[in-house]
């Protein structure tokens, strides 16, 4: 088992009232799964993904990732954990505008203390794999949306994570670009065994996955 959420609650206080963003979420994810999270806007999909990705905390419940109890970990330890095992893909790509494609890909490796030669090899490998060698010296603003998301996925993958979290990765893309990214995800999942959790509004995209988790008002349905 890769991760397990037990009775997760998350809330905010507003005007003396407690507003629940996540209510009693229980979820088990096995290694090699490809899960799609679905639900209407505002149902808590992004919130759930951020909690799983440890970008955000929660107020109640237990979260086990591999053998670690995330709810008991210190901030530093937690960040080591996700640095090691998790890659993120965002709807709006979130590439660093000041860095070229190559440098963007290199970023995560820098924080993991890979050697220079190693980094170079890994970046070259990724560029090759995603067919973007020709774009390596361009800045993100010089790329199309689909190309940017390709770089985003490549960046998420570069450090060989066990889990990829993707929040509406195709939200800003046209249908052809979407299909390319989805096909890529499927290939990664099937050939490399990478676990994927994606948030999506599209039934078609969800069909790429092996399982669908539905949310409504912060609750699993």
């Amino acid at each position: 088992m890769l991760l397990q959420l037990n009775n997760i609650f998350k809330w905010v206080n507003s005007g003396g009232q407690r507003i629940f963003l996540l209510k009693d979420i229980n979820l088990e994810v096995e290694e090699g799964e490809f899960i799609s999270v679905m639900g209407p806007s505002g149902s808590g999909k992004s919130t759930l993904l951020n909690v799983i990705g440890m970008l955000d905390g929660f107020d109640e419940g237990e979260y086990h990732f591999l053998d670690e109890s995330v709810h008991n970990l210190k901030e530093k330890h937690r960040s080591n954990l996700y640095k090691e095992y998790i890659g993120f893909v965002f709807q709006s790509y979130h590439l660093l505008d000041e860095l070229t494609v190559k440098e963007n890909l290199e970023m995560p490796l820098l924080y993991k203390k890979y050697k220079g030669a190693e980094r170079k090899a890994m970046v070259a490998d990724m560029l090759d794999r995603f067919n973007i060698v020709g774009k390596k010296d361009l800045f993100p603003t010089q790329l199309s949306g689909g190309q940017q998301q390709l770089v985003g996925v490549a960046r998420a993958l570069i450090a060989n994570p066990k889990l990829i979290l993707a929040d509406e990765p195709t939200g800003n893309l046209n249908s052809q670009q979407s299909e390319e990214i989805m096909a890529l995800f499927k290939k990664l999942n099937e050939e490399d065994g990478v676990t994927i959790i994606q948030v999506t509004h599209s039934e078609k995209n969800a069909a790429y996955g092996s399982r669908i988790v539905n949310l409504l008002d912060g609750r699993k349905v």
Partner: protein
């Protein structure tokens, strides 16, 4: 990693070129001014402190009650020094200083004017002016021995050894060079090229035992173990046994180390002096540095919202907090370092002009360890302070929040920024007001009615044979038509060299100790100087030989003496009965910044130093001068002809004030510049961050005007607050400044309105340029991004 950060930092800099430039330039301008002022202050604080025994050197001052007030001054009678040496064994050395004199030096047909003075042999024991040749113990012991500086030696003898060579001084006495001094450093108030021993003065019969004639400075050096407190009590009553006319006058030892920076006394108490200016400028330096630094921080943090995304992404990718903090601090320090390098450039470029402005020989000592340490300290401190907000604030956020953009953008001015803007503009307004008032005061004084005609009037100091040949010189000058009128006086019309409270007249009050200025003029003084007669007549020796004891009063003197019918009255002064023959309107005799004091002009029986000549208006100035020069050189051949235009001598009196004005203008412009840089940066960033809001408003129908107003309003409100704070402060300060002038303007409220309006317009232009640009932008563009 570092490389990566540097890369981002550098590209960030380049991407926001205009902004980075503004920020770096603003900071370096502030740093440059501060550096200049610190260099200057440093120079002033070390002025005349290099003497080895500075702690034991004192200047002898007098303190005396005059009209109920305790006055302090530093000129002493000639016989005081020998008495101190005789009566007080605690004193190790004592020396008189005659005051500056100019002598003609002649050697093998080479004539050279040199500036120097007459001192006692102990002078070089007291002050540390090292000798290159000769011994301190005996260089000033020979009556006709003279010590000269290396520069003068070089001018006189080229490379030959000057020791033992003879020179003729003032075309009369032969002197032997006994010693050569190293040239005086620039940071001493002494300024002489030669020293002549006091024994020479005695031999020439110019020494005197008159305790009422306070005309020389006396310096003493106490023994190493003498306590100042104890000794000053002892020496207090020195005059009691010697000074018949004012035995109660107090003798007071003033530490020499304090004379340059302090030495302003009010009612017997030291009340500052130059130190006031130094403190003022230290304040200004601090404020400008503060403004520049806060500006820098402000602009850096205004941009931090933009950087939030970067932080979020980096955190999502796995960057530890520590590294992000380091990155921001590093970037900020990088920027400050660039500013520091730029500062060095600016300072070395500007230093010569600044030196000319303040009349000081400052230099940047790049070999000084302290300089580099403090520079590095400033860079790191400013860098860390400016970088700390984005570093700690942003890196502490959860990435999910930062990436969602919920972190607060700089849409509104937060309190610290408001305070900063108010502070900056308060200072700017105070400085603008100061500039206006200083210029008004200067203009007003320059346009003051003089009471004499300075055009075409020249004066020449009497040297060599001019005294002896005076009559023939006058005859020839008038005869050849170069000069329409001529008079000899004791001082130039622009300077008062003589005064007294001892004059007597019928009806003088018993306790009247008012100083009356004294001028001597042999003949035709009213005509030559263009004074305005109110009663009586000019001095005319040819027609009335008895005019040698004539006296002319100015109106202030007439009012002070209270004569009903002044003509024919007698004034006793210096043992002579002077009879009043005329009264002239008040004229500016000494400082144009002072009110006019009572003055009398005594006739030919006085003593004379200066010849005033009114050039003939019918000829050109150069024709007249050629003739005058020829006449003087004919009758006084050894001395080169010297003269001064009265109008330029008068104009020189404004140099200090002109300098103050220039400095103020400089600081004002800089402060406004730095303040506006900050305002500009803030305004442009706020406009940028509200670009979406502006787009929506425009789509909904808002006009460019309403949007401009919306964006500028907040800033202008702050500037208005600054006007309210600055006005009373500057009113107080400037009135205080004006009090140091007797002849002064009254400050009009219009000046404050002017300063306020000027500031508001500058601020408006700065802010609205950004606001208008934002308001004009195409809304489609701003709405489709993101």
């Amino acid at each position: 990693m570092i490389k990566n950060h540097l890369k981002i930092a550098w590209r960030n800099l380049l991407r926001n070129k205009a902004f980075s430039l503004l920020n770096v330039f603003g900071l370096s301008a502030g740093l440059a001014v501060t550096t200049l002022i610190i260099l200057w202050i440093n120079f002033e604080l070390e002025y005349d402190r290099f003497h080895d025994k500075i702690d034991r050197i004192y200047e002898v001052n007098n303190q005396h009650q005059i009209n109920g007030e305790l006055w302090t001054w530093n000129s002493t009678p000639k016989p005081m020094a020998p008495v101190i040496k005789e009566d007080y064994p605690e004193v190790e050395s004592v020396s008189r200083f005659f005051g500056d004199i100019e002598f003609l030096f002649t050697h093998n047909n080479k004539n050279l004017k040199a500036k120097g003075t007459i001192v006692d042999p102990d002078f070089l024991n007291i002050f540390s002016f090292p000798l290159l040749q000769g011994e301190v113990e005996n260089v000033l012991n020979e009556i006709n021995g003279v010590v000269i500086t290396e520069t003068l030696a070089h001018k006189m003898f080229n490379d030959k050894n000057p020791i033992g060579k003879t020179i003729k001084i003032d075309n009369s006495d032969i002197f032997k060079i006994t010693g050569v001094l190293k040239d005086l450093p620039l940071n001493t108030k002494f300024d002489f090229e030669f020293l002549i021993p006091w024994s020479y003065l005695k031999k020439k019969g110019h020494d005197d035992e008159n305790w009422s004639n306070n005309s020389v400075t006396t310096y003493v050096m106490l023994g190493a173990n003498t306590s100042y407190a104890g000794f000053s009590k002892k020496i207090k009553a020195l005059r009691k046994n010697y000074d018949k006319s004012s035995p109660e006058m107090v003798t007071y030892l003033y530490p020499y180390a304090r004379t340059y920076l302090y030495s302003k006394f009010e009612n017997g108490k030291e009340v500052g002096g130059r130190i006031d200016y130094i403190q003022l400028f230290a304040c200004i330096a601090g404020i400008i540095l503060l403004i520049a630094c806060i500006n820098f921080m402000n602009l850096s943090t205004a941009r931090s919202a933009k950087r939030a995304k970067e932080v979020g992404i980096k955190k999502a990718i796995g960057a530890p907090k520590k590294i992000l903090i380091m990155q921001f601090l590093g970037e900020s320090i990088l920027l400050t370092s660039i500013a520091a390098v730029l500062t060095l450039g600016i300072v070395s470029l500007v230093l010569p002009y600044f030196n000319a402005l303040i009349n000081r020989p400052l230099s940047l000592n790049l070999t000084n360890v302290w300089f580099w340490l403090s520079a590095a300290g400033t860079v790191i401190l400013t860098g860390v302070l400016a970088g700390s907000y984005p570093a700690f604030y942003l890196s502490a956020f959860r990435p999910s929040k930062v990436l969602k953009g919920t972190i607060q953008k700089v849409n509104t001015l937060v309190a610290p920024r408001k305070i900063l803007v108010v502070l900056q503009f308060t200072i700017a307004i105070i400085l603008i007001t100061a500039t206006l008032i200083i210029s008004q005061q200067l203009n007003n004084t320059q346009n003051r009615q003089l009471g004499y005609v300075k055009d075409n009037l020249i004066y020449s100091l009497m040297e060599g044979d001019t005294e002896k040949k005076y009559n023939i010189i006058v005859e020839e000058l008038l005869g050849q038509g170069a000069v329409s009128s001529i008079t000899k006086t004791n001082s130039p019309v622009t300077e008062s060299w003589s005064n007294s409270w001892d004059m007597e007249w019928v009806g003088k009050q018993e306790d009247d100790q008012t100083l009356i200025l004294r001028m001597h003029a042999d003949n035709a003084v009213v005509e030559t100087m263009g004074l305005e007669l109110v009663q009586g007549r000019d001095i005319n020796l040819n027609k009335y030989p008895s005019d040698s004891t004539a006296v002319i009063l100015n109106i202030s003197a007439l009012e002070h003496m209270g004569f009903e019918d002044p003509i024919g009255q007698v004034i006793k002064d210096n043992g002579t009965d002077w009879h009043v023959i005329g009264v002239v309107k008040d004229f500016v005799f000494n400082s144009p910044f002072q009110k006019i004091e009572p003055l009398i002009i005594e006739g030919a029986k006085g003593w004379f130093n200066v010849i005033h000549m009114k050039l003939n208006d019918a000829n050109t100035t150069s024709e007249n001068l050629k003739v005058v020069e020829r006449v003087f050189e004919k009758h006084n051949p050894v001395y080169p002809f010297n003269f001064e235009f009265v109008d330029s001598a008068y104009a020189n009196k404004f140099n200090d004030n002109k300098r103050t004005k220039k400095l103020t203008v400089l600081f004002t412009i800089l402060t406004i510049l730095i303040s506006c840089l900050g305002l500009f940066g803030l305004a442009s960033y706020m406009a940028e961050n509200r670009i979406k809001e502006i787009g929506i408003r425009k789509v909904l129908g808002a006009s460019v005007n309403t949007i401009t107003t919306l964006l500028s309003k907040d800033f202008l409100k702050l500037v208005l607050i600054s006007v309210l704070i600055a006005t009373p402060i500057s009113s107080y300060c400037m009135n205080k400044w004006l009090e140091s002038f007797e002849y002064r303007i009254t400050v009009s409220w219009l000046t404050f309105v002017q300063a306020g309006l000027l500031t508001i317009s500058i601020a408006f232009v700065t802010v609205s340029s950004q606001a208008i640009r934002a308001a004009r932008s195409n809304p489609i563009k701003s709405l489709t991004t993101e």
